[in-house]
């Protein structure tokens, strides 16, 4: 059972990443894969700051700024140099690998006896349950903040930027600036996932972010399937579903491992799982047309 609790915790940690991908992919319609780099950056900054006895709140702030900068660079390359978004993301992600090594000074930082967000509040004896409460609070705050932002005038302009660029430019919005802000926000959220995971597993590693983008994509696609299936229009519910998508994703992986699948095959299983979720709605659509 503890196995699934860990999966739940990981799912909640990854909800920042999933919300980030939701913002870049669904709201801005930009395929951004800076993710792998900005997630590791979040983890490395966390490990370095915490091992240097910095307080949690300052660490969180530094992580958000670092991730935001990474996203803003991708945004600048994409909008100002008119380079394809995927390529911009790959360029920044690649460069971030070196940045992360420089930040960390080595490829792996264990966190022993350092401050942790999860021990900041202690409600129960059980460390896992305590972490669960902390993570739930973090995720609720994230969803509330992002949900509120998307409902403001600025948020509507954001959604319109990914939806009808000609229209929103004619209505006085600098779409380049908007995309840069959007990618900065998305990657700040991704870095926050690195912050949460690093403290959960008590170490940061240079390869922690390899292929992590698939978790965000998978979570968003699960959410999207549910959104289309239930015809959901509410912003809040959509964001909640993205978080639930991230949890479902981790649960499926946990179940796969528990059922005895070789851990080496985990990435293949992940890819096949995402393929399944993507293709399921299409398959059922075919049937309806018959």
């Amino acid at each position: 059972m503890d196995f699934y609790l860990t999966a739940l915790l990981q799912g909640l940690c990854f909800s920042g990443l999933a919300l980030g991908i939701y913002i870049s992919m669904k709201i801005f319609n930009i395929p951004d894969i800076t993710t792998d780099g900005s997630y590791t950056l979040g983890g490395m900054v966390t490990a370095v700051m915490l091992t240097h006895q910095q307080p949690i709140y300052l660490t969180a702030l530094a992580v958000l700024i670092a991730g935001g900068l990474a996203g803003a660079v991708t945004g600048l390359i994409h909008t100002k140099l008119k380079i394809n978004a995927l390529l911009s993301g790959i360029l920044v992600m690649t460069a971030l690998y070196s940045v992360n090594l420089v930040v960390a000074g080595r490829s792996n930082i264990p966190l022993i006896g350092t401050a942790s967000l999860y021990s900041a509040i202690s409600l129960t004896e059980n460390a896992n349950l305590n972490s669960l409460v902390v993570l739930l609070m973090v995720v609720v705050v994230l969803v509330l903040l992002i949900g509120y932002m998307l409902k403001t005038d600025f948020g509507i302009a954001m959604r319109a930027t990914g939806n009808s660029e000609t229209m929103i430019r004619a209505l006085g919005v600098n779409t380049d600036r908007m995309k840069i802000i959007g990618l900065a926000l998305a990657n700040a959220l991704t870095a926050l996932s690195g912050f949460l995971i690093t403290q959960l597993q008590s170490y940061a590693d240079i390869s922690m972010g390899i292929g992590i983008v698939i978790i965000g994509l998978g979570s968003v696609i699960i959410a999207e399937t549910l959104i289309n299936w239930r015809l959901i229009t509410s912003v809040w519910v959509s964001l909640m579903l993205v978080v639930i998508g991230a949890i479902i994703f981790q649960m499926v992986l946990a179940f796969t491992l528990a059922s005895g699948v070789d851990a080496n095959l985990l990435k293949a299983v992940t890819a096949i799982f995402v393929l399944l979720i993507v293709s399921l709605p299409r398959l059922s659509l075919l049937k309806r047309n018959d």
Partner: protein, 249 residues
């Protein structure tokens, strides 16, 4: 007032497919004039409109809006003066956003979009009252997404959206080209009414010679990037519809 002074626009300069879309064109449109621009495909009408709107910059020449030089300011800055209705009904609205959200953005065309919630009950009421003018029964569907509406409905709403905020210049780029005759008629009438009520300076590009004849108080014929004919209000009223058809034969 719109001033276009000796403007030339060359696409793909120096390449094999170089095209001069607008050639040393000068045009002054005083405030509150409603100009209809006609001309065959490739005559430079749309390029002229895009140059005025700032979607594309002139190769040479000056463009002034209300006396202010705007040569290098992009479309999102010129939106301070200009509201636009596009040929494609999909371009003027955001399909996945609700009617209300679309109107909210339009109401902020000349203002910053801040971090406060503007789609209040009061704003909703205002939008409902505006939409009721169209008589399409859309006033009770403001939470519906734009994408669920027909092209005609979207185009009519785009027009209304243009006067949600302070507007001095209205650019209509073949707004009825994709519409059925009834919707087209409604859109043209709405445009006429808005231009009069809000004392707008307007440019209408159209291929519909009947519309060109019925609407506006000045008509311009373009060809090969230049103005071939320019009839003022008085001259236009003396024109017969058959004269217009002759221009194209």
């Amino acid at each position: 007032m719109i001033e276009v002074n000796n403007v030339t626009k060359i696409f793909n300069r120096g390449k094999a497919n170089e095209v001069t879309a607008v050639k040393q064109l000068s045009l002054i449109i005083p405030a509150q004039e409603y100009v209809v621009v006609v001309g065959s495909n490739g005559s430079g009408k749309s390029t002229l409109l895009n140059l005025i709107a700032g979607s594309t910059f002139a190769t040479s020449g000056d463009i002034k809006l209300d006396g202010e030089l705007v040569n290098r300011s992009p479309d999102y800055e010129r939106s301070r003066w200009i509201a636009r209705v596009f040929q494609n009904p999909l371009s003027g609205t955001a399909p996945d956003l609700s009617i209300l959200d679309n109107f909210r953005l339009a109401a902020l065309r000349t203002k910053p979009k801040g971090l406060s919630i503007g789609t209040t009950e009061a704003f909703k009421k205002l939008v409902q009252d505006k939409i009721a003018i169209l008589g399409m029964g859309l006033e009770n569907k403001v939470q519906q997404t734009m994408g669920t509406l027909s092209g005609g409905q979207r185009q009519a709403l785009t027009l209304l959206m243009s006067v949600m905020d302070e507007c001095r210049i209205l650019l209509l780029d073949e707004p009825t080209a994709a519409l059925d005759p009834r919707s087209a008629d409604l859109v043209m009438r709405t445009a006429e009414e808005l231009v009069k009520t809000f004392k707008l300076t307007a440019i209408l590009i159209t291929h519909n010679l009947k519309d060109a004849f019925n609407f506006g108080n000045r008509i311009i014929l373009m060809g090969e990037g230049q103005i071939i004919k320019d009839f003022s209000s008085e001259e236009k009223s003396n024109l017969k519809q058959s004269d217009l058809f002759e221009w194209f034969s």
